[in-house]
Amino acid sequence: MPEKKFEYLSKEWADEVLRRCRKELTPEKMKHITSSMLTINTRCPDGKTRAVFYSLKNGNIESISIVEGALPKAEFTITADYDQFARISRGELKARAALMSGKMMLKGNLVKALTLSPTVDRLNEVIATIPTEF
C-alpha cells in the first residue's frame, strides 16, 4: 500500500507536523524556548499566499497552523516564495542558506534568530520526514 502523502500547507499537513514535532522534539531539544514564527509562502501554485504559524512555550510546541488572510503577529516572520519553503521542507535547502541567498526575508531580531536557528533546523528536519505532496 503506498505511503499516505500530505498536501503541503494543508490543515492535515500542519496537524501531522504538529504531531511529529511534539513526539520527537522534547522541550530540552527545543532549548525551552518561548517564541513564535510565521513563515509566509508567497506565490503558492494557486497564486495565493499562505502562512504557517508556529508557537512555542518553554520548548513545548503549542500550535502549528495554516493561516490565510490576516496574519497574526510573531516574533519572527520569514517571507519567501512557496518554492523556497518547499525545498526547505524537502530537506534540499537549509533555512540559513536561503536567508543568505537573499531569496528569503527575515523580520525580527537577527541576534535572537541566529541563537534560535539550530532549534529551527531541528524543526525543519522533522518536517522533512513527512511524506508530502507539493
Partner: protein, 408 residues
C-alpha cells in the same frame, strides 16, 4: 558576568536618556523627523559602548533610539550599553537583515506617507574612522525612501557634546590616571633595565600591559595605539604621528612616549619625553624650550581664549627664545568620547571640518593640549599631549605625570 549598569550615585554615571531627549528636542527645533547617526563619536556619546564595526543609531522624535551594528558584535554592545537587546540590533548578509533593510524598517514609521526629513551625518574628516554616511549608503537609502529629504544634522550632536558633564569628565580623569601608570611602567623599565635591548614596540607593549592591568580597555588611538618614537623619528619634519617600530633604543637619542588608555569611552592621551643615557648641552637647550613652552601653554588655557590667540602668544614666545623654527604651529586637538578626536568645537571655521581658530573656549570644554617640537636636522623632537579641562578660571591637566624631559 557583565559589569553592573551605573546608577546616578556612581562617579562615572552619565544620563544617556537625557542625552537622547536633548537630541530629540533639537530635532524638533530643526524639523527633523528622525535622526540617523553614523559617526563613531555619536555612537559612543549616545550608546555608552564602543562600536568598532560600522554601526548606526536611529533616533525617533520621541522614545528610545535603536542602534544597529554588525551581528557578531550586537550582543556585546547590548551587554555594555544602557539600551537593551531589543534596541541594539545586528545586521548581516541575510534577506531583510542587511544594513539598508534594517535602517529602512526603523526610519519609515517616522515618515508621514514616506515624506519627512531624515537628519544624517556627513562631511569630511582628517580622522579616518569618523563614520560619516557613505555615498553608497546615502544612494541606497534615498532609493529605499524616495520621498524623504536628507539633511546634514551632525551639528546637533556636536553642539550637545561640546560641554562635558561630570560623568564624562570623571571617565577622562580615570583614563588619564591609567595613562600615568603606563608612564610609570615605562620610566621604571628604562631606569631598571638595559634599555638598549628594548625596541619602540616593546615600550608600547609594556606600557599597554601596565595600563590594561590598571583597567584600560585598549590603547584607543587609531595612530597605532601607543605611539613611540626614538632618535631621528622624534624629529620628523612637521610630524606628530609615530606608530611604534622595531627600532632599538640607543644611548644619546631622544625618546617620545605617547600613551593612550580608554576607560568607559573616556580617553587618556599623554606624551612624555626622555633623553636616553645622556644629553648634550644643545639637546638640553631644546628640552628647556619645550618644557617652558608647555608650562606657558598650560597657564594660558582658560574660558574666553581662542586657538589663534593662544598660538600667537606661543609663537611669540618661541620667537623670543629662538626656537620658532622647531615648533609645529598647532597647540591642541579636540577630544570627546571615543571617536571624537579631531576638530575642536563646531564646524564653523574658515575651512570646512577643521578647527575654527576663533573658537572661544568655555568652562567644561575639553581638548587635548598637543604640542610638537621637531628639529629634523638634529634628529630630535618632543611631543606633549594631555587632556585639558577648561575650568572657571584656567584649566585642569588631567594627566599628572610630572612634566620634564628626563635624562635616564
Amino acid at each position: 558576568m557583565p559589569e553592573k549598569k551605573l546608577t546616578k550615585e556612581d562617579l562615572y554615571f552619565i544620563d544617556f536618556p537625557k542625552r537622547i531627549k536633548s537630541i530629540q528636542k533639537e530635532m524638533a527645533k530643526n524639523n527633523i523627523d528622525v535622526y540617523l547617526g553614523t559617526r563613531l563619536r555619536t555612537l559612543s556619546w549616545t550608546l555608552d559602548a564602543f562600536c568598532p564595526w560600522r554601526s548606526y543609531i536611529v533616533i525617533p522624535p520621541e522614545g528610545l533610539p535603536t542602534a544597529i551594528t554588525f551581528v557578531i558584535d550586537a550582543a556585546r554592545v547590548a551587554d555594555e550599553s544602557w539600551l537593551d537587546q531589543d534596541h541594539i540590533l545586528g545586521y548581516g548578509p541575510m534577506g531583510g537583515q542587511d544594513q539598508i533593510s534594517l535602517l529602512q524598517m526603523l526610519i519609515k514609521p517616522h515618515l508621514k506617507s514616506g515624506k519627512g526629513i531624515i537628519g544624517m551625518e556627513t562631511g569630511m574628516g582628517t580622522y579616518l574612522p569618523e563614520g560619516h554616511l557613505t555615498l553608497f549608503e546615502f544612494v541606497m537609502l534615498k532609493a529605499a525612501l524616495p520621498k524623504a529629504t536628507f539633511k546634514n544634522a551632525h551639528i546637533i550632536v556636536d553642539k550637545l557634546s561640546m560641554i562635558k558633564d561630570e560623568g564624562t569628565i570623571n571617565r577622562f580623569r580615570e583614563a588619564s590616571r591609567i595613562v600615568d601608570i603606563g608612564h610609570k611602567a615605562v620610566y621604571d623599565a628604562l631606569k631598571n633595565s638595559d634599555f638598549t635591548e628594548l625596541t619602540e614596540t616593546e615600550i608600547a607593549g609594556l606600557a599597554a600591559y601596565a595600563m590594561r592591568k590598571a583597567g584600560s580597555e585598549w590603547e584607543w588611538s587609531f595612530t597605532g595605539g601607543n605611539e613611540i618614537a626614538s632618535g631621528y623619528r622624534t624629529g620628523l619634519a612637521a610630524g606628530a604621528c609615530t606608530p611604534a617600530t622595531r627600532k632599538k633604543l640607543k644611548i644619546g637619542e631622544s625618546l617620545m612616549v605617547d600613551l593612550h588608555a580608554m576607560f568607559k569611552c573616556g580617553l587618556g592621551d599623554h606624551s612624555h619625553n626622555y633623553f636616553l643615557g645622556k644629553a648634550t648641552r644643545r639637546q638640553l637647550w631644546h628640552a628647556r624650550n619645550f618644557v617652558d613652552l608647555i608650562n606657558k601653554v598650560l597657564g594660558a588655557y582658560k574660558p574666553g581664549i581662542t586657538p589663534s590667540r593662544l598660538a600667537d602668544e606661543m609663537l611669540a614666545f618661541a620667537e623670543e627664545r629662538g626656537f620658532q623654527d622647531y615648533l609645529v604651529p598647532g597647540f591642541e586637538h579636540g577630544i570627546g568620547m571615543m571617536g571624537d578626536e579631531w576638530r575642536i568645537g563646531l564646524n564653523d571655521g574658515p575651512f570646512d571640518y577643521w578647527t575654527n581658530p576663533d573658537h572661544v573656549y568655555q568652562k567644561n570644554e575639553m581638548l587635548i593640549c598637543a604640542v610638537q617640537y621637531a628639529c629634523p636636522e638634529e634628529n630630535i623632537g618632543f611631543r606633549y599631549e594631555n587632556p585639558i579641562l577648561i575650568t572657571a578660571k584656567g584649566c585642569e591637566a588631567l594627566s599628572k605625570f610630572p612634566l620634564s624631559i628626563d635624562v635616564i
